[in-house]
Symmetry: C2
Subunit: 265 residues, 2 copies
Amino acid sequence: MEKTGTEKAAVAPAATGARRPRADRARQVADLLRREILYGGLGTGRLPLEAALAREFGTSRNTVRQALDLLREERLVERCPGIGTTVAAEKYPHGLQRLLGLAETLHEHGRVGNEVRTMGLIEPPAAVARRLGLAAGEQVVYLERLRRLNGLPLSLDLTYLVRDVGEPLFDADLEGNDVFVLLERIAGQPLGTAELTLEAVNADAHTAAVLDAPRGAALLMVERLTHLADGRPVDLEFVRFRGDRLAMRGHLRRDSDDPEEGACP
Amino acid sequence: MEKTGTEKAAVAPAATGARRPRADRARQVADLLRREILYGGLGTGRLPLEAALAREFGTSRNTVRQALDLLREERLVERCPGIGTTVAAEKYPHGLQRLLGLAETLHEHGRVGNEVRTMGLIEPPAAVARRLGLAAGEQVVYLERLRRLNGLPLSLDLTYLVRDVGEPLFDADLEGNDVFVLLERIAGQPLGTAELTLEAVNADAHTAAVLDAPRGAALLMVERLTHLADGRPVDLEFVRFRGDRLAMRGHLRRDSDDPEEGACP
């Protein structure tokens, strides 16, 4: 920890910065730029010149260059000599406030199309049967989809559905609809709650190829168990989102008054 | 999409599986095993033998082996000839239901220790000043911490605090306390809400070194703007969690009755 006791009010950004490795300062600048690129005033075109960014962040051009390199590694920007730095990819916000299907949450951003990779009735492994509350021997519908937004791969979804609500999906338009919307139609009641787990994992070679991403690319992995309004669990999903295409957004309260809070650690 | 129209009821797991690439089946098994390893009945010791896992998942030993390889790539398990597969790392659940500091949410799992890497008063970049609602020229406290759980690196936190609640932290025990708890003491009021964004990113070389993770390791990145109960934004954070050490857990409702839902897309 730096000595900041008496001279703390005099610590100018450059002074604080000069004592720290450039990589630390570059990370700090990259985090602020990432936000600006994704949701801020920079738009989808070209970023300001390095000299202007250096002024804005009170740092050197070398640090700005290193920050832009970090964002290029994340595939958020492209850098071309003579042209400058341009935004490479749009990243979409997936709402964390409500239980929504992909097409529902992204409807402002374009069209979600689903490619069904496989679908069939299977004897579920014990781990699946247990979470869906099924007796031994009860079959489930297994569904695997590659989901695209405006034609670009966004997520790979592995879904286990209890048989009575899953089986009618064999005759439904899965390419153009969220499963959530179809399930509510089939069950004749809305969905209720879902427990979810969010993780960051590296893409294995095969998954990377399916999602058209580099091997090892960071994926946002979501496991979600969804219940009907009457409380019955019907839908267990394992979803891998491309980390460079999607961010989850929501808000939290310090004094949660959610009656179900105790249910999840 | 496979033809499943008439013979769907006869599609046994093996039959469904046999038509699909082994990598797809391995991913499916890996997702179920990941859950079992993290929260399930496998404990922290040795996994069942490959033959037993093959029986449980109704698949071949080769597929099980490939699934275990995927989990080894994620650094969740270790595989030793003659010994078998053992759980390599514990992954901790961070609650998504309530706004909690790290030590608060992980108190059952061990002791959180914070290493202050830098701390000082800085002139904030415009992007920071805007989000914290500050006038031009107002300084903020910048704080950078490496956070460990039971001695192992868990996250790297970059924090911007408005001056009046941030400055007293210079004299506080930051090594042993969450900033959230200290802020509430200083402000004399509880925290209120926070907006957060969750992303998966690859670790750059320098960040990987700080977190003692391989370069490119998947990180769970959290950006969080926290307000006091009176609504004033006071704390803007950029947190990188090691993806192999932490998962976010929570639940969602289909019919959100959250009055603030409209605030976040």
